[in-house]
Symmetry: C2
Subunit: 347 residues, 2 copies
DNA sequence: CGGTTGGTCTACAACGTTGTAGAGCAACGT
DNA sequence: ACGTTGCTCTACAACGTTGTAGACCAACCG
């Protein structure tokens, strides 16, 4: 066990409260005293005991981040952004993986609080509108992603519909008309899922262009989660079903990368035979063969916004609580080889 | 603030210590009393305050994981494995990113302790043998990866040399003789880096096969870290330098994926013209075009071993401290299309 | 010159938990 | 019948920090 404030106080010849005051930048400390304390701290290599601080002040300086899985690149990169944003503000991040399973997601919300978190960033996948109530109980909570609209908490999301629409418009602009969509979720007609919102953007873009939607072009994925295998499978099925198509809008980059792979196996050339656009702008999409055009939903900004919102909520007095907010960063289309643009290095 | 032990004690009609005893499975509690306490806990939805527990008992149930970056797939997947292993044992994981920078790595070791971690899993990149001393001070610490051998702590690593040798043997077995190596680190002749150890394996395999090593085939990467861009660059240079080669051993999968991309751009066919093998077995390598043969160093097992070692160290009395151990899981070669084998789904 | 103000510091009591010491009581052996 | 044992439970004191209340002193005001 390291030195405590008592040790520092003894060395500096002050009371422990003065040490505490120096550490917490309490203004009324004489410069000379402050220096003595700082010197003592350095001499002893004193570090505050965060458990004690957490007990006394109710804050631990640690927040939680609950995501489906770090094996999904989007969430790994999101975690990277969140951790860096949190670190810049002096917070640690405990990462929990829900596997996208409903029970583990519910658990993450209810069980993570006792883990002495100051707050939780939560990216649910399985929880839906009907679970909004389950989120009301706990401490500061900021939702990430699409699900659970109008919940009792802040929500950082993305322009799913309009960015999906822009993605399809991009395909239309380069002359494609038979645009397949991979990753639709037609099981529960769940209005609040990313899949549904992006599908809606797809339909709008087609409608505006005066193209009738062909249901044969809208493909679901069998796998429970969006991944490369799902994308590959969907693309294989498209080809083997004999559906004619000259472009694919994959609802996530990992799906899109699976599509790229499958198209290669089917001897279809990208973008000559089939153009492909993904969604998420994960690092990997810039290095696939060919590099993949995608929608950058503003992940980095999502992380910063979310951490800042959470910090606000944490420091908020229960009295003057603002009503829950929903914020969305700007999106952009990153044009790459899979739709006929050269890859820009470092993009 | 939620209910405390006092509240539970009052409801159950016992002392707080009895509540504590029930929670900590202290044996001498009458079944009836135990039931009353459990019922009170459930009725109040009581959750122990981990700050208080941490203060009193010196344990917080949280460990740290310091890795270069979650954007590197290998580390994202390692983090996934570690978090799952830790969760199974009731521990939370705070993830810190060092960016592979020396100062941040040193900071991670010295600063993370006050963050009330019970222990730290640390995967250094920049720290070397000369920093072994810096690791002696702190609490339970388990190193991951190659660097800092013979340090004062447990070390979970991998069979770098023999698995690299096996990788090259695989290329030799399929008839390749001009085997390039991408990702060498020739700056500091640092005996303890993954790069050096894998290079050594490469040389041994060639030697055993009676092939003389051609320095023109051994390529460094300009970028500070192993990534796709570095692999692509190295492959482009190989071609443009006019070096003849029929296989590439990439010292990491991300390097290998960059190599695959660059070879495609150079109109070289994989594996017909050039066979490629990587190292790490990240998920992505199974979905590249073509899928990439690689060395699986046993990442999942590394995580489990590391977490278990750390837990042992945490619960160890200072008296009967075992000497530091170094453990390595088994490796295996995962054969895929980039060396002429069909991809096995789910592999 | 007495009273007030405000800057600087200290003493003390919490925060919620667990370790220690020991009280109470039934069962047992002698 | 009485000490001993062992199970069950309780009271109390920590753990290291911060909030509260207030002491002390110099500077200032009237």
């Amino acid at each position: 066990m390291g030195p405590t404030m008592h040790d520092v106080a003894r060395v500096a010849g002050v009371s422990i409260k003065t040490v505490s005051n120096v550490i917490n930048d309490y203004p009324h400390v004489r410069p000379g005293t402050r220096d003595r304390v700082i010197e003592a701290i350095e001499q002893l290599d004193y570090r505050p005991n965060l458990s004690a601080r957490g007990l006394r002040s109710g804050r631990t300086g640690v927040i939680g981040l609950a995501v489906p899985s770090l094996r999904e690149n989007y969430f790994a990169e999101l975690a990277d952004s969140v951790i860096r944003a949190a670190e810049a503000r002096g917070l640690g991040v405990i990462v929990e993986q829900t596997g996208g399973q409903r029970d583990k997601e519910l658990l993450a919300v209810s069980t993570s609080r006792p883990r002495f978190l100051d707050g939780l960033l939560f990216s649910p996948v399985s929880l839906g509108q009907e679970d909004a109530g389950a989120l009301a109980i706990d401490g500061p909570l900021v939702l990430l992603g699409e699900r659970i609209f109008d919940g009792p908490t802040d929500h950082v999301t993305m322009h799913n519909m309009s960015s999906a629409q822009a993605a399809v418009q991009h395909l239309l602009e380069i002359g494609r008309r038979r645009i397949a969509l991979v990753g639709a979720d037609l099981n529960g007609i769940d209005e609040t899922s990313s899949a549904s919102l992006r599908l809606k953007g797809y339909m709008r873009a087609l409608e505006e262009a005066g193209i009738e939607m062909d249901p044969a072009l809208v493909r679901t994925t069998e796998m429970s989660r969006w991944n490369r295998a799902g994308g590959a499978e969907a693309a294989h099925l498209l080809v083997r079903d004999g559906v004619e198509f000259d472009a694919v809008f994959a609802l996530s980059d990992t799906l899109g990368l699976g599509v790229l792979r499958a198209l290669g196996e089917e001897n279809l050339r990208v973008p000559d035979d089939v153009a492909v656009i993904g969604f998420d702008n994960i690092d990997e999409s810039n290095y696939s063969v060919p590099s993949m055009t995608t929608v950058d939903p503003g992940r980095e900004e999502i992380a910063v916004l979310a951490v800042d919102r959470l910090i606000e909520r944490i420091s908020e007095k229960t009295a003057d609580r603002r009503p829950p907010e929903t914020v969305k960063p700007e999106f952009r289309i990153v044009k790459r080889e899979s739709t006929g643009f050269p890859t820009i290095e470092g993009e």
